[in-house]
Symmetry: C2
Subunit: 132 residues, 2 copies
DNA sequence: CTTGAGATTCCCCTTACTGGAAGGTTTATG
DNA sequence: CATAAACCTTCCAGTAAGGGGAATCTCAAG
């Protein structure tokens, strides 16, 4: 599969896919003409990268997550530790997104017509920032 | 309030806070000694930036979100449109995080001891990528 | 009054892409 | 077959969003 098809299937620009190869996140075969030749496994890795990058995980986070199944030398205990750490991150992100969503919903609801909302949304914006 | 205190309250490094000022996301007062002097509103904006950046929103997304309450010239319909667009993004992100979490949980559960997991997790990694 | 913590600016470095040039390949068309 | 469009290659340079660290200044404590 050529890079264009993979780009479409993964939702990532070809530039980014080549970049991920440069930094060692995948190593597609090469066809006789020099074109990169991707497998479905590559597509899966790239879709995964697209998802987790857009959710705020760093490339190094993604590399760890990808190593969870890709590295057959890795010990199971190690896999579990990494996965559990990432699970905490994910739970926190979910909670924060829900907070953000509720805040925005409140803003939309209290935004009644022709002038700016007069609710004290600014405090909601900051999450649990009730410090002083 | 000096930048150190604000850094602690917002969870952002001082460097980043100055950077956000450089790109126009806030404009703290200056004390007589030249030090930046932050208000609680600044702290709220920064906490908000910290949260939404870590959730994968770009700085420009954040700028729009911040403008939802900061710009008194903005029309309400405009506010609603932006907020609703961001709400869709947030809902999608939440769904993706939940998918990621379930995938990782499955991995942890099926990771029984001393060798690499033998479940076909690689397909789970790619989300709903059942294309061919 | 000096010493250490914290502030300032400035400049360069890093991460993670992104755009564009210059050129080779494949595919569709006259 | 020719040739043009579409797609691929590498390479180099630029952007976005900070981070490191020097040189200097200021504030609080002893």
């Amino acid at each position: 599969m050529n890079i264009g098809a993979v780009s479409e299937k993964s939702g990532l620009p070809a530039k980014t896919i080549r970049h991920y190869e440069d930094i060692g996140l995948l190593k597609p075969d090469r066809a006789g003409n020099g074109y990169r030749d991707y497998s479905m496994v590559d597509v899966h890795r790239l879709r995964f990268l697209q998802r987790s990058r857009s959710l705020g995980f760093s490339v190094e986070d993604c590399r760890q997550l990808l190593s969870l199944y890709g590295d057959s030398d890795r010990e199971s205990a190690d896999v579990k530790a990494i996965a559990n750490a990432k699970l905490s991150d994910i739970d926190r992100k979910i909670a924060e997104l829900i907070g953000l969503r509720d805040m925005l919903r409140h803003l939309v609801k209290n935004c009644h017509g022709d002038s700016r909302p007069d609710c004290p949304i600014i405090e909601g914006l900051a999450g649990e920032a009730r410090v002083q």
